[in-house]
């Protein structure tokens, strides 16, 4: 064997399991020797055979091709991280787990920041919560990927009917066509975004002005008038809780049906009416803010009421449009 063949065999063996190297090395040596000999014996003139010995060896090695590819033929291990059997499970897990991890990380880190920081501010909240959430999402993504890659390599190839299903997952039936066709992840994602917005709206009455860097206007008190009767606060939070319940209903159904859609519209109307009454009859903004000039002036009140109903109208149109789409 020449140094060229030895180098070729070494590269192949570097890519095959260690316990098989000796055996596979002997096989490849024998294979190359036979192929070179066959080529040389095909030469008409014995002198040519000697001259073409090196060329024959090169031809044989090139015919065998990339040694890494030959090693893959021997090893026959999966060349993909997650193959077609487990890919749907992987995507399903990513679609479910990553949003949950993202929302949970945002909430937990937001709450921890607000509770531990002496003077919480928007920039700090966003920076802390987003930074920690990105880390949590990356860890969740990496964990799922590694887990499925391990399952891919350890699940038995003999039972292909069970591959691609986690324990407890039901086998596919045609009923699932209905589930998937109407569903979806978009309905759940919309509901999730709505829940986050509702949580933000619920926080509005207690957010201190220092949070948005204007604490000097009223000594770091909330934007909303703390002198409002408790009933206004409880009513506001109660209506938001109802709205949140309709969003949870949509997320659980995973499709937009008339029930949760009309319940959501009804609660929207109640909230818009509640805010209209509050704006027209109460001093909603903190008295130290705006100095009678912003929301407490007549024009400001009209603008605020108009904005409330404009938001309601947009929400109504988008809900009805989504409902029509889902019924197609």
């Amino acid at each position: 064997m020449t140094a060229l063949t030895e180098r070729y065999v070494d590269v192949v063996l570097a890519h095959v399991p260690e316990d098989q190297r000796e055996e596979i090395g002997a096989e490849i040596h024998a294979m190359i020797a036979d192929m070179v000999e066959a080529r040389q014996s095909g030469a008409a003139d014995p002198a040519d055979a000697a001259i073409t010995s090196g060329a024959a060896e090169r031809e044989v090695l090139e015919q065998l091709g990339d040694p890494a590819a030959l090693a893959r033929e021997y090893a026959r291990t999966p060349q993909h991280l997650i193959g077609p059997d487990w890919y749907p499970v992987y995507m399903w897990a990513l679609r479910w787990i990553l949003p949950l991890v993202g929302v949970a990380a945002l909430l937990v880190n937001g709450i921890v920041y607000s509770a531990t920081e002496a003077r919480p501010q928007l920039g700090g909240l966003i920076g802390t919560a987003l930074g920690q959430t990105v880390g949590a999402l990356l860890i969740a993504f990496a964990t799922l990927t590694i887990l499925l890659a391990v399952v891919e390599r350890t699940s038995g190839a003999e039972d292909r009917s069970a591959r691609g299903r986690l324990p407890g997952m039901r086998p596919w039936t045609v009923e699932q066509l209905g589930d998937r066709a109407a569903s979806g992840s978009s309905v759940r994602a919309d509901a999730l975004v709505s829940l986050v917005l509702i949580a933000l709206l619920a926080a509005v009455p207690v957010i201190p002005t220092s949070f948005l860097y204007v604490g000097h206007l009223n000594g770091g008190e909330p934007f909303v008038n703390p002198g409002l009767a408790a009933g206004w606060f409880l009513g506001y939070w109660g209506l938001l809780a109802l709205l949140a319940a309709t969003e949870v209903w949509k997320a659980v159904r995973a499709r937009l049906t008339p029930g949760p859609a009309f319940a959501g519209i009804t609660v929207d109307v109640l909230i818009a009416a509640f805010l209209t009454v509050a704006l027209l009859t109460q001093r909603v903004l903190h008295p130290a803010l705006g100095d009678e000039g912003l929301l407490d002036g007549a024009l400001g009140t009209v603008l605020a009421v108009a904005a409330v109903w404009a938001i309601f109208a947009c929400d109504l149109v988008s809900t009805l449009r989504a409902l029509r789409e889902s019924r197609r």
Binding site: E27, M31, M35, Q63, E73
Partner: protein, 115 residues
């Protein structure tokens, strides 16, 4: 044929031949064969297979218990000889029966659909 058709044909031919190489190797190994003798035998029989596919395939068939391998060191150069096992013979018979069934099915199908 257009280059696109040729490309598609090459892919399907490869798929079609992949399984036949296993059956052809099992049938040929009813008499002991070493790698290169099997390669030449298949080529002479009109079954084209690359060496870099055949040698690893023989190893997998050996692992599956369909072929028995023995190194022959009596010759000038050591060679690994493969022989069909009893299990291999049963599998080869079953595959061959499948092949005949497929052939007759395809023939009948072609006859039925020929205008």
């Amino acid at each position: 044929m257009s280059s696109q058709e040729n490309e598609a044909l090459a892919i399907h031919q490869q798929e079609l031949r992949r399984g036949t190489v296993v059956l052809a190797s099992l049938l040929t190994c009813r008499t002991p064969q070493y790698g290169y003798s099997l390669l030449s035998g298949l080529e002479e029989a009109g079954i084209r297979v690359e060496a870099n596919t055949l040698y690893p395939l023989l190893r997998r068939l050996e692992k599956q218990g369909l072929l028995r391998a023995e190194w022959n060191t009596a010759e000038a150069r050591p060679r690994k000889y493969y022989t069909l096992t009893e299990a291999g013979a049963r599998v080869a018979d079953a595959l061959y029966a499948d092949w005949l069934d497929l052939t007759s099915s395809l023939t009948a199908l072609r006859k039925e659909t020929t205008p």
